[in-house]
Symmetry: D2
Subunit: 117 residues, 4 copies
């Protein structure tokens, strides 16, 4: 997680915002690597679920879906996650990723299993 | 890509194999980070499409789906990608990820757009 | 499409709304079948893309992701689709499905290939 | 489920096979509707999980991902589902769909929550 350089901007059970720099997270053509976007989405949604259900529960991402919508070359990308649903055993988070101009770069969904440790 | 430490083991238009170490790719609990798995899957499938269609085409991952099936604590994870279909404008790759004991750790699918540059 | 009983409520390149009755679209336990939800999402997003790009283009759903969030027993479910992006060769639609009380029942994404016929 | 005309061909905790006719499950262009494919995949994986865990457990599809790979005009499509993993609270099924000539038509994954009733 530290490798992609996540900076947490808002932490709330109903809304998590975090960003990463594009620099250092690029693929061979010099654009943002889709894996960095996926990692950011997974981190935001996992952490959001942990915040929502409490640290005494175990939180495990089980399914990640990401649509890459737009190439990004520089600046930061910012992910905003909101819960579709936080249930007793399953949570689902909707995460939108934008560039510094506010363009939608990616949209993702993480399905999270919530377990008693 | 270099950040997760990908090592390419087989490169063929019909089969791509690559691995990463778990160490250095973990989340806060010490297990493999789902984002590292997602990045490995996306890298294998993107590269496989580029190998299959030729370097004169532009290859863009548009949709990534990953199921995380099993936690991993150490060793490597190895991804094997095979194409479901490589068409003129869309390719779809199926990628299975295993641990050093051969257990299935994750399964993912990347939908790739193929474009004239 | 006729089998699930789709009723189109709003048709606009930026917003498509349609609904189906739960009755007749249930699984063995008497709840709404997830396949009916998936069909509704796919229909809304495919039709929305056709409306957005024009009937002279060919529109093909290539990837569907659906999160089922809540069981429904009766009434209707209503899907509202808005485009994440409509590009030259790929469109992505975000579709939310609610019950008659406005509860979120499912959320889905369709990735659509756009082709010259 | 009955609406799409499912015919069950093999029922085993490790392998479920079922088919539907294309006729009656088409979209406006006369090709197989993606929603019918999605419904078949969801049915096969849900039923497979129920067979694997026993009828005393409650089985709920929570996430469905489908890649549509090839248009089909007539005959049947046949879905073969095998479990990626059947755990205590989550199962994941891999489902391949072929036409009568054995061509891969679609590939899908269903994530299923398993609950005590």
């Amino acid at each position: 997680m530290e490798r992609i350089g996540i900076e947490w901007l808002e932490i709330d059970p109903e809304r998590i915002v975090a960003r990463i720099p594009v620099e250092g997270n690029t693929q061979v053509y010099g654009f943002l690597h889709g894996g960095a976007t996926a990692t950011l989405i997974e981190s935001v949604a996992s952490f959001g679920t942990a915040v929502a259900v409490g640290l005494d529960k175990q939180v495990v991402g089980v399914q990640l879906s990401v649509n890459h919508l737009r190439a990004v070359r520089d600046g930061h990308i910012t992910a905003t996650g909101v819960p579709h649903r936080v249930g007793r055993s399953v949570a689902v988070w909707d995460v939108r990723v934008t560039d510094d101009q506010g363009n939608l770069v990616a949209a993702g969904t993480l399905t999270v299993a919530i377990r008693e440790p």
